[in-house]
Amino acid sequence: MLKIKKLSKSFENLEVLRELSFNVNEKDFISIVGPSGCGKTVLLKIISGLENPTKGEVVINKGVNPIIIWQDFRLLPWRTVYENVLLPLEEKEIRDKIKKVSDLLKFIGLEEFKDYYIHQLSGGMQQRVALARALIIEPKLLLLDEPFSNIEWRKTQEFYEELKRIQEKKKLTVIQITHDIPNTLKYSDKIIVLSQRPARIKAVFSNIKNNEEMQKRILNLLEPDEEVI
């Protein structure tokens, strides 16, 4: 559903991404790992169309509207949970918006908090609101920018399980940027390892689940960089 072809990005004299190419298939769960500040967030913005690449191209299937779940969630503080989730639908001409939002809030387990403002919620709950806001327009591709850096580690597991459940049910494709290596090994269909800036693709791994040999190789490759961080 998504093809990245020799994609490069520079900001004035700063080269951030260099000739990245990879493919994403439907219902993939893809993790992008690499050192901090190597330009991973820029990559997500380019995929979503918020930034233009300097060179190369992003080819996305028609009708795929990639939605980003931001590291800092970016929920609107002046809106309630309900109103935040409604935001993407407000300009759309569809019936039963209210019911749609209510159903989704029920599905995500936020129903009883629908009238709360964002600052009244814990980090984990804010993240679920951000997820609900993205899911309300039924995107085919979800882009997660270090989704777990702002919540407790204990809740990370729960969220991954929930994300997997939603992915199956809604037939989602997920690309996540992450530093959480253990969970990445457990859940990803494909792992893309990026180098220091300007980021190039260092390695791509598939068939990782339940493949200890492969997992060891990935860990070995990541370690030197992890120390740099």
């Binding site: 931001w70 970016r74 609107l76 503080p77 002046w78 809106r79 009244q120």
Partner: protein
């Protein structure tokens, strides 16, 4: 607890009034220069119609000036904040005009429009306009750009309505509060200069006739009006404009 909050100030107020009354009664203070509270109360009863009429006129001047002023200021502030070129072109002129003391506009307005209420309204409008305008303008410029990216990601078209306006509302509201304060400070002096109109005129005319009890009555009344206006504004802000900021953080789990 609530009772103490009300009772203590009332006791203080009565104590002050009593001491004041006694000081005048025993001629420690000359009643010609500071009339006693009871004298003021009596004068209020004698001049009720004139006094209430003046209050109504002053409140009318303040509120009409305020609403026209902020009605112009908010849209203009939003436009200046969004459009860099408009900001560059006009903001120096606006900034210079905004620093001119508002009451000094009065003579020129009187020459242009005559001795009527229009110059007072214009001063009230200017007084309300600049704080509301400047705060709105700065609010829009300080918006967290990340919210705009969110809206773009969802392909939202009316970003102004859904993001920029609500995101700058804390600044706008701050401007609206300053606007009511400054309009309130400017309007009665403008009335004084104009002469026989509103509470400002009431105070000036009473001083002319050396009726100090009416002067003090007018001043205290203005104090009460100002206090009430600010309280009403606080209430509206808390309850409607910035409701979200005033909700307690109590849903942690």
């Amino acid at each position: 607890m609530m009772n103490k909050k009300i009772i203590f100030p009332i006791i203080t107020l009565f104590a002050i009034l009593l001491i004041w009354q006694l000081l005048v009664y025993f001629s420690i203070i000359n009643s010609l220069f500071l009339p006693a509270p009871l004298t003021i109360a009596k004068s209020l009863i004698k001049n009720t119609d004139y006094f209430l009429g003046s209050i109504g006129i002053t409140i009318k001047h303040i509120l009409i000036g305020y609403f026209i002023g902020i009605g112009l200021a908010i849209p203009l502030g939003l436009v200046f904040g969004w459009k860099k070129n408009i900001e560059l072109t006009f903001s120096p002129i606006f900034l210079v005009i905004s620093t001119i003391p508002v009451v000094t506009f009065l003579p020129i307005f009187i020459l242009w429009f005559g001795l009527n209420e229009i110059p007072i309204y214009l001063c009230s409008i200017i007084a309300a306009f600049f704080p509301a305008f400047l705060n709105t303008f700065h609010g829009v410029k300080k918006i967290d750009k990340s919210f705009i990216e969110v809206a773009e990601n969802f392909k939202i078209k009316s970003i102004n309505k859904r993001i920029i306006f609500p995101a700058s509302l804390p600044y706008i509201s701050n401007g609206l509060r300053q606007a009511i304060q400054i309009t309130f400070l400017v309007t009665p002096p403008a009335e004084m200069i104009m002469g026989d109109i509103g509470l400002g005129g009431f105070i000036w005319k009473s001083a002319d006739l050396f009726k100090l009890e009416l002067v003090i009555l007018g001043m205290v009344t203005l104090g009460i009006i100002g206090f009430s206006l600010f309280k009403i504004y606080d209430f509206i802000e808390k309850k409607y404009l910035l409701k979200w900021m005033n909700v307690r953080k109590d849903a942690e789990n």
